[in-house]
Symmetry: C2
Subunit: 327 residues, 2 copies
């Protein structure tokens, strides 16, 4: 069997067109965000919406719960869809909901979005107080059932403590190194060394605010950054987490940033002048452009095996080790 | 492999003692009620409680979601536990929650408890208006995902319409024939003929209000009733659904009968003088007595193969056909 193509973070405004683009781009599996600030009950509505799409488009997409689902999707010419949360709001204050969400297919959960959560501190807070009492127990429960701790939006201290506390490797599903582009959401060398040194995975983001030169970032610059990261962290711990936010109305980025927690406008990584979603770089407008990445990685000197690893085989190996009950 | 022992309806106040009794009685699988009047969120708490028990007692019990789980439980010396609702309250007004509940392991749902529901009419209402608009669509959705329609507490018209409307065989998991004991909750010959004639299953109840002579019912009388039912309906459509309500405080039967719908006391099958749970017949006090039933069925002349069918093989065949997506 050929090596899979996996994008481990997308937040597209899904439609039949978008599902067809996944197939046209040869994407075998995606991890999609199904909650930012949703309560338990609200996030269940998002599961129901996906259930309806699985029913409506059985030739294009299929529910993903294990590594075997990726292989099954490849054999049947479909894209396996894995669920994740960018905030722990759907578990509310109830540790029992972690296993319930695992039963409903959730395989990644960020301990925080940008703010302090019940579990840890987000990267926009002034003071990162690390994992909370509930946070430590939640990480243990996630380890037990097979839900990956994702620290993409968390502060450095919380992230380092999560890496330390977790018995299983964790992930930063969508971010880039600060040494390439010094954005608040990108990660320090220390964090990335601790992450990958413990077997964790980094997914490279193509969200313009995470890119050097923003929407004007070149494919060569992006791929050279990945080459440098491979030297520093080991190519086996690297994958894609594009953070593709395609076809979303700007009201959605407002929900992502403001939820219900603020009556003031919070522009997050944007600004009053550029409040909406930024334009994508022209070499990655939607999933049909996925082969551009493969080509870009080849051109900066990666071997075919290394390209396959970054484009999906590394995530698949991580899925294999992460989604079942703890051994 | 030996034939399984399955009790397809229990509502025990579960404890380590009760789980050990399942093992001592040689019970390979049970269908347990996890909701009477619970909302969606409340019923999720009951799933969480079971998740905790599965974690705490992995040597005694295991989650059941398919017929294969029964065989796995038998191979590992445990009891497989399948979930069901005696009321559709946990789907609230949302058809999407049927698949969500299937994902969470629910395999049986009564369209009603004793009262009118959003789906159909319970057997305590004066006027049975049959399946509602939502009820018809809910049956179709249950058919699609593999959740069994259970009409144990429904009125005759609703039951006959459910049998007619359902594309897959349905069940009456816990009731007895009215011709043996004319209780409100027992079923008419017409209903039982329509049920079994369409491949549906009847589980015989040992809840005293459903028994001839109540708690004084003899094992011989119970087994002779089953023999007559086998003549009328075919032995292959018969199983056990004991309705064992062991170790429950009387506050629980008040919840079952009154939920939140009434400020007056409703005594259901009981009375002001006998408001609590009735005492069990002495030959079926708890799961350790399960072999008494096997012996009782042998004594009224069933062949060994017929006894095995009634004691579990018929339910296992029904599980095999019922819990997966519609073919």
């Amino acid at each position: 069997m050929r090596s899979p193509v996996i994008d481990n973070l997308q937040y597209v405004n899904w439609s039949e067109t978008a599902f067809r683009q996944l197939r046209l781009g040869g994407v075998d599996a995606i991890h999609v965000t199904i909650a930012y600030h949703e309560s338990f009950r609200e996030a269940v509505l998002n599961v129901s919406q996906w259930n309806r799409w699985f029913e409506q488009y059985p030739d294009l997409i299929v529910r993903g719960t294990s590594a075997a689902c990726v292989r099954h999707a490849m054999e049947t010419g479909r894209t396996a869809v894995f669920f994740g949360f960018q905030n722990p709001s759907p578990i509310e204050d109830d540790i029992g909901l972690i296993e319930v969400w695992h039963q409903l297919g959730v395989r990644f959960m960020q301990l925080t979005y940008n703010n302090q959560s019940l579990l840890a501190t987000g990267c926009y807070e002034d003071d990162d107080s690390g994992l909370t009492r509930f946070g430590k127990q939640a990480v243990e429960e996630m380890n037990r059932v097979g839900m990956v701790v994702d620290m993409s939006h968390s502060g450095d201290r919380s992230t380092l403590e999560a890496i330390e506390h977790s018995r299983r490797p964790i992930a930063i599903t969508h971010a880039n190194p600060k040494w390439w582009h010094n954005a608040l959401r990108n990660k320090s060398d220390d964090v990335l060394k601790a992450l990958t040194g413990s077997g964790g995975m980094l997914g490279f983001s193509m969200y313009p605010h995470h890119l050097k030169d923003g929407p004007n970032c070149t494919l060569v610059s992006f791929c050279e950054m990945i080459a440098e990261a491979a030297t520093r962290y080991g190519v086996q711990n690297l994958g894609i987490g594009s953070d593709l936010c395609q076809d979303q109305p700007d009201s959605v980025v407002t929900w992502m940033r403001n939820g219900r927690w603020s009556k003031q406008m919070d522009y997050g990584e944007g600004s009053a002048d550029h409040a909406g979603f930024p334009p994508q770089p022209d070499w990655f407008a939607d999933n049909r452009d996925m082969p551009n990445l493969t080509e870009g990685l080849r051109k900066v000197g990666f071997s075919e095996l290394e390209v396959e690893g970054i484009m999906g085989a590394n995530w698949l190996r991580f899925y294999e080790a992460s989604f079942g009950p703890e051994a």
